[in-house]
Amino acid sequence: MASIEIRSLRKHFGELHAVDGVDLSIRDGEFLVLLGSSGSGKTTLLRMIAGLERPTSGEIHIGDQRVDGDVPPRARGIAMVFQSYALYPHRTVFQNIAFPLEASHVPRKQIEQKVRWAAELFSISRYLDRYPRQLSGGERQRVALCRALVRDPKVFLLDEPLANLDAKLRNTARDDLKRFQRRIQTTTVYVTHDQVEAMGLGDRIVVMERGKVRQIGTPQEVYEDPVDTFVATFVGQPPMNLLDAGDPSLPPRTLTGFRPEHFLPRSVFGPAEDLRTFRFAVRRVEYLGSDRYVYGSVAASGAPDATIIAKLPATIALAIPEGETHEFAVPRRALRYFDPETGLRRKV
């Protein structure tokens, strides 16, 4: 078990700055999620921790060992699960899981024990004699996890391990993964572009964009207190509404942001609540079972065409006819303000 320290880490591919000055400390036993869209540098960062990519500059410490430079992956005490699982197609499940143990010259008998123990843990004992191609996606993913586990790594590195599973399986796999990590308490770095995975799995989330860290925080902090408009619109589905409300009590040119689930008909709030009301011209209502998404625009905003979304839970049965203007409101405590130039959060 180990913590990870990353200091001003950079990776340049020619002109492209894939990772552009990242500082990060990952606590011992923490489940840290690197969240970003493709090209944000999250995978490159993970590969540098693994030792598959050499940093252009900066430092990486795993435990008390400095590993940027010439420390090969096998000497870093890491294990990695790849997006494609990267199982060896010519080896049985048993041989796949045994491979890292063979590579570190563990005695035969011990290998046998260890593989059976790990397979038991992931309930894949039945498949030990099969080849990867004979397994389903979920089973392959568990084999890959097993192969990573038997090395007793100090750090788990996971590169989008759920991306190749179908949606239904992904939920249970996510739950399994989280329980497994809680149980073995090994520091884990998990890369994903899926914010639902990030929110659900991470002790903390690192939001990355174009090689830089935009925000580090617990899922709650990242969701409720985004540091800038990028994080505000990247995390959350549908994204945070942003508009220039032209509010006289605010400094000129301030973006007001609020989550769609806070934007509700005026009548559902109690009279004591401190509200900011809007005239909401409803264009379209989308019925999604548990929620209704209401699309429309707000007359007060600087750009009246900008689409604003309200997310009404099914508990609000109020009829919202399309093509009409309604009185909607947001509690003032749910409002967030941003500078339109820099995108940074503005405290008011």
């Binding site: 096998r74 790849f82 049985t92 063979e102 080849y131």
Partner: protein, 304 residues
């Protein structure tokens, strides 16, 4: 406006007719230039035909009995096997090593790749003549180089000593086939997913373990194809041995094709020549089937 519709099926619509029409020329080529000579060769093997006469008498298995009792033939048979196996072994090692080199990026890679492919593009006869100079009893660059490096104290008569001559033939055959094999192995290497190689690195496998436990097993089907080609090319080659040693010294380095040529064409005994030439066929077929099955089995990941 309506598009003009052709009411009847044109030739281009009739895939059955079109297929036969397009296959025809290729089929005619194979039958006339491969099939007929092949059948003719088998028939000749059972005849007492000679060059310069049109008589064609049935000889039964007499030709086969004669060659099987002939030490020169048995030696040629052994040589064929030794040369084929030896050269292909060398090819597999060289091609795998060369493919590893060419997988890396380095300056002058394109030039190096061009040079690599040259042996393949050079006509066999021309290359074999060049090699006779390299193995020349007086001017052999190999000998002079070894001498200059202080590694050789006597003198090697490459084409004058039966063992060395066979070794020389193996070297030239390997040299001829290995560029082709390298290209095939290189293609095979690039078909191994990068993530699998990286997984092996992270799993702690060093270069050799990665090579022998991950890359080579995955390459096996591709290498098998390369070797199959190599076996066929080498086992049926006449030019290299004919030019390099002419079967000498004292008929010790004959392989089946050169012996068949000597007996059948130069010695005018068409029947025996054909019998020698056909002799290797069953073995080649067995080798081919074996390797294709091996390739298939590895491809689908074991036969469970």
């Amino acid at each position: 406006m309506t598009l003009p519709l052709r009411p009847r099926r044109a030739l281009a619509d009739r895939e059955d007719v079109l297929g036969a029409a397009m296959l025809g020329p290729a089929l005619a080529y194979v039958i006339l230039l491969v099939g007929v000579p092949f059948v003719f060769a088998i028939l000749l093997g059972f005849s007492n035909a000679t060059a310069g006469s049109l008589s064609f008498g049935w000889a039964g298995f007499r030709n086969y009995a004669a060659i099987l009792a002939d030490p020169i033939f048995l030696r040629a048979l052994r040589n064929s096997a030794v040369v084929t196996v030896g050269s292909q072994l060398l090819v597999v090692i060289l091609a795998t090593a060369a493919a590893q080199v060419f997988r890396a990026t380095f300056r002058g890679k394109r030039v190096a790749r061009f040079v690599l492919l040259l042996p393949w593009a050079v006509p066999v006869s021309l290359a074999a003549i060049a090699w006779t100079w390299i193995f020349d009893s007086t001017f052999s660059v190999i000998n002079w180089t070894l001498k200059a490096a202080g590694l050789l104290h006597g003198w090697l008569y490459w084409l004058g000593d039966p063992t060395l001559a066979l070794l020389a033939i193996i070297i030239v055959q390997a040299w001829r086939i290995f560029p082709f094999a390298t290209v095939i192995v290189l293609a095979g290497l690039s078909s191994i997913p990068q993530e699998i190689v990286e997984a092996a690195i992270v799993d702690g496998a060093g270069f050799w373990r990665r090579l022998f436990r991950v890359e080579l097993p995955l390459l096996l089907p591709v290498v098998a194809v390369a070797v199959l080609f190599g076996v066929v090319y080498t086992a049926t080659d006449l030019g290299v041995v004919y030019i390099l040693t002419g079967g000498g010294p004292a008929n010790t380095t004959h392989v089946l094709p050169t012996l068949a040529f000597q007996r059948g064409i130069l010695g005018a005994d068409l029947g025996q020549g054909a019998a020698i030439a056909v002799f290797l066929l069953p073995f080649l077929i067995v080798v081919a089937i074996g390797m294709l099955r091996l390739a298939h089995r590895t491809e689908v990941g074991g036969s469970r």
